[in-house]
Symmetry: C2
Subunit: 281 residues, 2 copies
């Protein structure tokens, strides 16, 4: 009998897709849902709910469940560390956590991976657990990007790579050379919504689409934990913002529900494109 | 008799302060308000309203008024160049404008300066016309920043310098090492408003202020045209977002209504700080 996948889960479609896939492949799954970020669709799987500061409990539950591979997936906002309920091991780890958290998200994620691996678990990425999620290269859905859109993809790819070097975010929106918006802690959806509120002179509209959403991982990023993810709702928000399409780094982003994404892109008249990892770096 | 200042004006407090100062010093002013961005408080000054594409008219009006120095000030959004009403000279300039606009805002602004200077005018910055507007060094208002706030200022100064290299924007918000938001085309006010909507765990509140708004010019920026500007409403929005204060590059930003800014900062319990130009570069 194989060891079940240990899934440390936040909110969203990604942890659900991972859990369902682990069951479908016969590996099985043990889901630790994080308090404050409990995804209701995961309640049906074997597992437990644990607090963000219950690190000792996290390790012992994963061991009791017989897990070997551990995977982090789903949306979790950084807590206010002062308010966390800590168990003994959580308290012992807190000074390190605070030191790394002050350096940015990347440092914090790297620390989490390191501490889990110290316990003898192997941390794997969503792409390793479910390879079909990985974004392919080239046109994925809709009609091929125009020359203007390809230029915007190249500029966006460069901008996001540079933002990533600063540990800021994974996305931006570019329209005919102009960077309309940059993603930080608000997330992709909020960024797309504010693009729709910009003056129509500098952005596209549903009648005359212009501009591209570009997402790619940070260069120094712990890809096993924090891979950029797009899904049907991303395609819908890209369309609503009057953009021509969305582009992600091939092999550097996850696509959730690809067939439905493709159908949505066709229906709404936007493209989905996977650019080469070397672009703009 | 001195030649009146030629003021090409968009919206906001800055062109009003410049016009009032030019009158107060005895130089006088001739104001060209840009169609679509007519600041009502400027209607009382001598001048005219002209369209963004009426370049020939702009030059001839400035010459008729006897202007020598020309100053660009105020908020103007980039137009959709396809919809502009062009006069003959505007039409002749359009291919160049489109080529530079595709490279970003900086290239476009540099082209505007160059074309105005080709006509024999001297383009001057708001700081040259009204030196008292320039941000000083050190504490300007409120209580001195904490050590955590000083670290956030340093990180923000570095981030905005890097963003400027990419011709993206002039501001960001940092809270205890984490970049909460980055400013692009939406402007500073919208950025501050979305910080107030982030989870309280990663940001400050009015009861427990944390984090800093940082603004500085882009390194390659045409400072004569597009200097970052802060005023009373900036201080109010910084306070409403739960931030500890705002910091700008000393000598690299304009402060509008400094006495009122200081009083507002005192009243709301936030700081105003001018950091050294070398910080974070």
């Amino acid at each position: 009998m194989t060891a079940p996948l240990g899934l440390i889960a936040g909110l969203g479609d990604l942890p659900v897709a991972i859990a369902e896939n682990a069951v479908a492949t016969g590996q099985g799954v043990y889901v630790l849902r994080l308090k404050g970020f409990e995804e209701s669709r995961l309640a049906a799987f074997p597992g437990a709910v644990i607090g963000l500061g219950e690190i000792g409990k996290l390790f012992s539950l994963l061991k009791q469940a017989g897990c070997e591979d551990v995977l982090f997936a789903g949306i979790v906002k950084r807590p206010n560390f002062k308010d966390l309920k800590l168990d003994l091991r959580g308290a012992a780890l807190l000074p390190k956590v605070l030191a790394e958290a002050g350096k940015g998200d990347d440092a914090l994620l790297r620390l989490m991976v390191k501490e889990v691996e110290k316990q003898g678990f192997k941390v794997i990425g969503s792409d390793a657990a479910h390879a079909a999620l990985l974004a392919p290269s080239g046109l994925v859905g809709g009609s091929a990007p125009s020359q203007a859109a390809m230029s915007d993809i190249a500029r966006g790819a460069h901008v996001v790579a540079a933002l990533g070097d600063l540990d800021i975010g994974q996305g931006c929106v570019v329209c005919e050379g102009l960077v309309l918006a940059v993603e930080a802690q608000e997330g992709t959806d909020a960024m797309l919504e504010r693009c729709a509120a910009l003056p129509e002179t500098i952005r596209g509209t549903i009648a005359a689409r212009r501009g591209v959403l570009v997402k790619r991982p940070k260069p120094a990023q712990e890809r096993r934990i924090d891979m950029p993810t797009v899904g049907v709702s991303t395609v819908e928000k890209v369309a609503a913002a009057g953009l021509a399409g969305l582009a992600v780094e091939a092999g550097g982003a996850l696509m959730l529900g690809r067939a439905e994404m493709q159908a949505t892109a066709e229906r709404l008249g936007v493209f989905i494109y996977g650019f080469e990892p070397g672009l703009g770096t």
